[in-house]
Amino acid sequence: MKPATEEIWSWLDEVPDPEIPVISVVDLGIVRDVAWDGDTLEVAVTPTYSGCPATGVISMDIETALHDRGIENVRIKTRISPPWTTDWLSDTGRAKLMDYGIAPPRAAGGPECCPRCKSTNVTRISQFGSTPCKAQWRCTDCLEPFDYFKCI
């Protein structure tokens, strides 16, 4: 019997993002669709940045997780349109990012506050951070640098 897609979504929600393991690939909003095509499960994945080195690993992790659940035939479809946007990050994902020390993206183009001390006195160090999706910011109160997940 084929598992229902709702159940599959809950399994995928346990697959961590390889670079930010506190959030799942579902929280990140890159899993766009899960559907059965005969005996094959088709999972549509939208990459974050074109050059994101994690994209290949993410597809592999999804396949492995589904194989472990007994689904034999998995087809990952890369879907680039519409392009991924940080608006697709789930609210749970945003909260987890903040707890982890990464300020979640905001339409205003900068972090709301320092993830560590919650001060709103923050300043940008560089628009590019440790991965393509992050910028480097610093808190001017506790003086700690932190990552900001930038809008795209």
Partner: protein, 255 residues
Amino acid sequence: MAEVDQAQLFEFLCRMGDNTLVLGHWVSEWCGHAPVLEEDIALANTALDLIGQTQMWLGLAAEVEGKGRSADDLAMLRDVWDFRNVLLVEQPNGDFGQTMMRQFLFDAWHLEMLGALAGSSHDQIAAIAAKSVKEVQYHVERSGDTVVGLGDGTSESHSRMQKALNLLWPYVGEMFAADAVDNAVAAAGIAPDPAALRETYDARVGAVLAEATLSVPEDGFAHKGGKSGFQHSEHLGHLLTQMQWLQRAYPGASW
């Protein structure tokens, strides 16, 4: 609208993909060598974006060509005369200032081009452009800021930036000069007429260069021959010997 000849569409896609491939490779050479850590990281990220965009453009080019070649085959197994990038992006890194000037002059064009391509009559091209343009907005913001910072910096950084501008400016014109391939894709609503992007480009670039206290060379001479493949500069061959070495020495090698 006119139907496009598939051979010309292939040429156009190679131009887009070769621009990002060649520039992405040059920029990646800065990894571990940039003057400060933040710049090192920013350059590496920019290179990654460009190489990622290359995979999409050359992947589509290979599909359109229909001869069973892959994006990797196009990137790693073609020789100089088959490359279709503009001459600007194959100019060497030089010093950090020259790298950033080259980046800005390209980014400003790239942004306008991708913005127009996002409305392409060709769905796959529109999708690749819509995705890439978001990344390029970050590239141009940073390269523009750096050109201003260095141009309007110390007398040493100013003179180096002016030298870089004088060196690279003659390569700007090629991006806006239409040929048969450009005309064919424009007639089919696939891509804009390159000349139509010039006004916005000049406005953006002019504003940044003015803020950077740099003067645009008055001589309007423009080199050409890169995107047609007719006459690449010597630098492209040197770049390919580095980039393609592994696939040439160990054909078919993979991770």
